[in-house]
Symmetry: C2
């Protein structure tokens, strides 16, 4: 089945302890869309400026991503610059130039309107709601948000939370949204706001999925050379939603596999700058890492 | 098989957001010994003052813990006071009175000297070495340490690291000991210092075991009512070492089960003040939690 991805697209300038790159492609829709393209037909909605490299648009097409929803607007693309600290767990934003993204108003092409799986990237909740008004009864909707919207537009966020199936947030966002320091309680409180499933992304500590009374813990892949964490969360969302769209079902077993694929794709993404590691993964590499995740979590019940 | 436990014993005064208790039993040897007593014959070496409650000594005996190595000395017991912050992840030490623990010099009774499993709690590395000189070729030695010894007595710590099988530390201690921010690299560097196995305890994020090229991730139990984290790490060590001593073997499958039991016992310990939750656990409760750990980590390979 197909997956609709709506979110930012732009050019990033990134400094890590290991190097620096300038104007490389990034943004939610790109990280998520490319990861999901390994599993499903991806339909992308976003905006870039006329300066966005043609070669990168060709790359997205080469991943079989449908770009009818990509708007190319007069002006410059969204640009973000960030510098990571030594342990890669924290970063400073050096600049944010919204440019053409400032007036982004997602328009869903008619042929996208029946897409069964929808990922609403981290944009204003009003825009996320607007997308949901344009699509016809999707089977499964995932949403990402952040502290900015939790603090500034709680009413709109609350309306969109009522209409989604899964919320993807990090641990501090979950605590802030629920106003509850205990993550287990926080997840339960957020479920009462609407989404049946909460996925809490914890970076190097892995991810936890909370659904009807059940918990699923997926580790993070133990990387010796984490290189650039930019886009890890969006890539997680892409692996997760792409796999669900491929399978066309959202039962517990499939959701757990999707979380593992999310963690696997995030681990690949952080191994190189930008999308460099996930431009052309081989099926064998992905399968190999899945097998490693099994080996890392396996244990045997001691009684019979 | 039996397990020798050497470490602090004393009386704690603990404040959490949920309440306050005064002069309750605590210390490494007590938390570890009591947890391990669910699996194996525990032999305890420690020191308390004459003020240590007789009822608590009777309690330790009721858990079948051998107290021939317990010294009751003229003077007051070790006392520690701490206050936890709202999220329970950080605390302030309010006071530390070493009292009779200040001159603790572990003397291993002759009948303990052939104990096959040994846990050296967090005391000075010179004292830990001294214990290893008194025991005869133990099968498996585990050691806990902390930033204080890593910074102040690196040479002695390095000598004891050469003689142990497993090191239990938290993530910041692992980074400090290896002088390496990446935990995967840090674990590998520490293995070169001696121990074949490193267990990194990450509190609410679970624990990771690193051995010959393999990783094992155990989650933390998702507690809605974490109450008092005091002793969680020592209780982890008790569940881990107690289970290994019970099984009398340290192959990969058994080590993984031992890590899960460590995490299970730590989760029980933090549910109430002091040792209150682990004084009298039923086998069914422990087994139930083991089953929940399996349910939390289970996922199916998607291909055949």
């Amino acid at each position: 089945m197909s997956l609709l991805v709506v979110g930012s697209m732009g050019l990033d300038t990134i400094e890590t302890p290991f190097g620096r790159v300038e104007d490389v492609i990034g943004g939610t829709a790109i990280y998520c869309g490319v990861a999901a393209s390994y599993f499903a037909d991806v339909r992308l909605v976003g905006v870039v400026g006329e300066d966005f490299p043609q070669a990168e648009i060709a790359f997205l097409r080469s991943r079989n991503i449908d770009l009818e929803g990509l708007e190319i607007k007069a002006g410059e693309s969204f640009r973000w610059g960030g510098k990571y600290h030594l342990d890669l767990n924290s970063r400073d934003t050096l600049f944010t130039h919204l440019n053409v993204f400032e007036t982004f108003q997602p328009v869903i092409p008619e042929k996208y309107c029946d897409t069964p799986f929808v990922f609403l990237g981290n944009i204003g909740p009003d825009l996320q709601l607007d997308v949901l008004k344009q699509v016809r009864k999707p089977q499964f909707v995932a949403l990402d948000t952040m502290n900015y919207w939790i603090e500034r537009t709680p009413a709109a966020l609350s309306r969109v939370l009522e209409r989604i199936d899964v919320l993807l947030v990090n641990d501090s966002e979950a605590r802030m949204l629920a106003r509850e320091p205990n993550l287990v309680k926080a997840a339960k409180l957020i479920r009462k706001m609407g989404p049946r499933i909460i996925i809490i992304k914890k970076g190097e500590h892995g991810a936890v999925m909370v659904s009807d009374g059940t918990f699923f813990w997926a580790p993070a892949y133990p990387l010796e050379n984490a290189f650039d964490p930019t886009g890890a969360g969006d890539t997680f969302a892409g692996g997760f939603m792409g796999y669900l769209a491929k399978m066309g079902k959202v039962d517990d077993d499939t959701l757990r596999q999707a979380v593992v694929y999310g963690s696997i794709f995030a681990s690949f993404a952080v191994e190189k700058f930008s999308l460099d590691r996930i431009r052309d993964l081989h099926e064998e590499e992905i399968r190999q890492r899945f097998t490693e995740f099994q080996a890392m979590t396996r244990f045997i019940q001691p009684w019979v």
